[in-house]
Symmetry: C2
Subunit: 499 residues, 2 copies
């Protein structure tokens, strides 16, 4: 074995061989990660069961290094057996498509490999974050405030809980919440599960999540919220926070912010947070921003830009309305090895202590570069297109035999059932729905094994909806032909299903 | 304006223009992000104060899109004014250097843009994580267990707290901790601040962090730990967890695991967690793994592979010793839209519900590809080199006039003072130390403004150490000449300092 064959360690490789390897990787990315994927010149996935994949793919880590040729083969294998989320027929998650400018930004960030806690480590990215968070607060109509990017919507939602808790009693920071009355968090029955996980993690307990019913479109019912708050107050418990949802995970419903904000004000200025992880994108559009009417009245907002806005994963913003010092007071640990007061520059630009994390990835650059590339106008046009495409898909579903909408879409999610021939015209009794619940899993299995398309399915037990399909449109690349293919393919795969 | 000049939106751009843009970005990355940076053919940073940078750099987001030519200029500007963490003279954080295989892996992950919660979304990455976490548990000598990658060491440490809390009382999950006796977390006075932030976030309170003194090398004193546990038990409080540190953030001290494990066993099987975020790398080496002697006896471990192992940021592993179902039981929310039981494959490979996050970045591929490229042998050689280089630097410091070690390094951090001529031979009284504390900030300012080198400084108040320099060696590219330059440059910049 010579060093040039096995240049895997920094100490034996030459700069030239490293550059050559990277150049070959760039070629591979352009071919397999961009062109083939976006053109749909490949399956969405070449699915293998875990046991099969373990036999097909060389996962094992060993004592000896691999050659660079072998490493390139392994990278090729990685593409071959991975899911192509940029493929035109990938709709399996709440993000799809691939943005060229976002991808470029992600890769440039990778090459700089900076941790974004202090200005002196990440000067450019600090000021980009400053600019973007300011823009987001402007979109919300907040006159002042604070904010940070977080690794995903869950943490952003939990930051809001921590701020709300600190605001009602700063002593919790030191003493913990042991002696406190139970603190209640009000969410709708369509809210994201991060509040369940967070209630455990933050010591609050899932019993203290008060789940408010929604109407038939999945929107929190304000009157029910008010009743629940009154009851909690009568019990002597603390109404800590109302977390409204704008774009719920499955039905993509928008809770009505104005009446909810009225209730929060009426009952002692309860912290109103909005989880707009999915639906926040509507703010970028002139046509759909009315869905978040009242957003200027909330105290904090979660918005995952890696979802509807198509920024490469992860890119979540958390912004606070007013309350300028709260994040710092609530989260800061003042670690002397990072946040030295005797630095020579304006340390108010050191953002790391506002958040829970120590090291923090640069998630801002890919978003900022996309925003520069598109401008407000481009983001408006792209996002409007996504909403419009969802409407088109809903119309197509309504006009195609064997398909049935779960409800009219408000956002860019479209939820629907496929009714195979064996079920059409049958009486819709318990047996019917039991059989219908088996359809989506079977069609999903067939599409996964053929690799022609991917979309997800789920039940919605709160609404007594058995398994249905969900298409979430997060890519501006989606065209009418991609929507038509969804229905054609389900028909082809599901026509002969017997349930 | 024509579309080809402003191809920023997916709806107006052609695949060809996007490919052309990406190709130009690849050229830029290879030149500015790799070659120039690694060769040191540039300043470590071209520092500007925030106000200056705001004038120099075009951060503003506007209505209209920029041309692709302008976007490439902005990318060039981003390189020009960013810190080059791959530069041979960058030692400002606990990671440095740039690994070619890690960078390749990061970029390939970017192009696939997958969220790693379920097997069907990330089949290859799921099995890679399975393999790597198994290897890490093997290194620790755990016979069975569980694990996950997390976005940084803070969350990994807090996962351990959550598991420890759930283990003593699963009812906390539902009821919260309101009625509980205070839960105490024992950490050394050199431990990472994540426990402070976590105590607030998890409702435990910073008053319930019991800080155990360390010896003169920064290691937790087992006798003091045992006294503290006995006191807590006498007070009727709950000794929840001992968090040992292996490679503390500043002095990089290793707590003695064997006697600490004995104490945890003796006092009712207290959850022993190890924060080896920085020092875990020693496990990869034959020469230094003795530093973590007793690691097989801990219940959980945090290890940031993006630090000493040089994986691109972020890549943190959290592993649990035995207790196979605990992570799932403690963290799971069983969201029906993601973790459908009626999928057609073995859903035990869906890892997402073990963790707090919903969407989860693919952090595994870059690590896995590096491990393939280097093999265990390569990682051993590289990591040993880093430890050896730290020893060389310490020797150099001892043998150079005007420099003084804070203490002999055990790990790859070297902490030292520079004593400028105006202080040499002076009586070491309060005034001396007050003046000495001003040296590092002044030299740091000078090196930042010249951009020749970056290393950090901090005081260590617990040890009554005034501001000293810290070099953390996280790159296997570091050579003797880079170490020599550190001292030469501090001498040049600090020679005439008057404090």
């Amino acid at each position: 074995m010579t060093d040039s064959e096995h240049p895997g360690t920094m100490m034996t490789s030459s700069r030239e061989s490293e550059k050559e390897f990277l150049s070959k990787v760039f070629d591979l990315i352009l071919k397999e990660g961009v062109e083939k994927q976006l053109n749909g010149d490949c399956k969405v996935v070449n699915f293998k069961h875990p046991e099969e994949l373990l036999k097909t793919f060389d996962f094992k880590l060993q004592d000896d290094p691999e050659t660079t040729e072998r490493l390139l083969e392994l990278c090729q294998d990685t593409y071959d057996y991975s899911v192509k989320t940029g493929h035109p027929q990938f709709f399996n998650t709440n993000f799809n498509g691939q943005d060229t400018f976002g991808l470029a930004g992600a890769m440039i960030s990778d090459s700089l490999n900076t941790s974004q806690y202090t200005f002196d480590n990440a000067p450019v990215f600090t000021l980009m974050e400053h600019e973007v968070l300011g823009k987001i607060r402007d979109l919300c109509g907040f006159e002042s405030g604070d904010g940070i990017l977080t690794p995903g919507g869950t943490l952003a939602n939990l930051f809001a809980v921590n701020l709300a808790r600190y605001r009602i009693n700063p002593d919790f920071r030191k003493q913990g919440i042991y002696g406190s009355k139970p603190m209640k968090i009000f969410v709708s029955d369509q809210s994201h599960y991060s509040f369940v996980k967070g209630a455990v993690f933050m010591g609050i307990g899932t019993d203290n999540l008060v789940v408010i019913p929604t109407d038939d479109r999945g929107k929190m019912i304000p009157e029910k919220l008010e009743e629940a708050i009154i009851l909690v107050k009568e019990q002597g418990h603390i109404p800590l926070m109302v977390a409204a949802t704008c774009g719920s995970t499955v039905l993509a419903s928008y809770d009505p912010l104005e009446p909810i904000a009225d209730i929060c004000e009426r009952h002692g200025d309860i912290w109103l947070h909005v989880d707009a992880a999915w639906g926040g994108g509507a703010m970028m559009t002139r046509k759909y921003r009315h869905l978040l009417k009242g957003i200027h009245r909330v105290k904090s907002l979660t918005w995952c830009l890696h979802k509807m806005m198509g920024v490469p994963f992860q890119c979540t913003s958390f912004v606070v309305n007013g309350n300028k010092d709260l994040m710092t007071k609530c989260h800061a640990a003042n670690a002397e090895y990072l946040f030295q007061p005797d630095k020579f520059y304006d340390v108010s630009y050191d953002t790391g202590d506002k958040t829970l994390q120590c090291g923090r990835r640069v998630d801002i650059f890919k978003l900022w570069l996309m925003w520069k590339a598109k401008g407000n106008k481009g983001f408006d046009a792209e996002t409007t297109h996504k909403f419009d495409m969802a409407r088109s898909l809903a119309d197509l579903i309504k006009n195609t035999e064997g398909f049935q909408l779960v409800q009219e879409p408000e956002c860019t999610n479209v939820c629907f059932w496929y009714i195979p021939e064996c079920l059409r015209g049958q009486e819709q009794n318990a047996d019917y729905f039991k059989r219908l619940s088996k359809v989506a899993p079977q069609v999903k299995e067939a599409m996964t094994l053929e690799g022609t398309m991917l979309l997800t399915f789920q039940p919605n037990e709160v609404k007594s909806h058995v398994n249905f399909f969900k298409v979430g449109i997060g890519s501006a690349r989606v065209k009418d032909e991609n929507l038509a293919f969804i229905l054609e393919e389900i028909q082809r795969l599901g026509k002969d299903i017997k349930v």
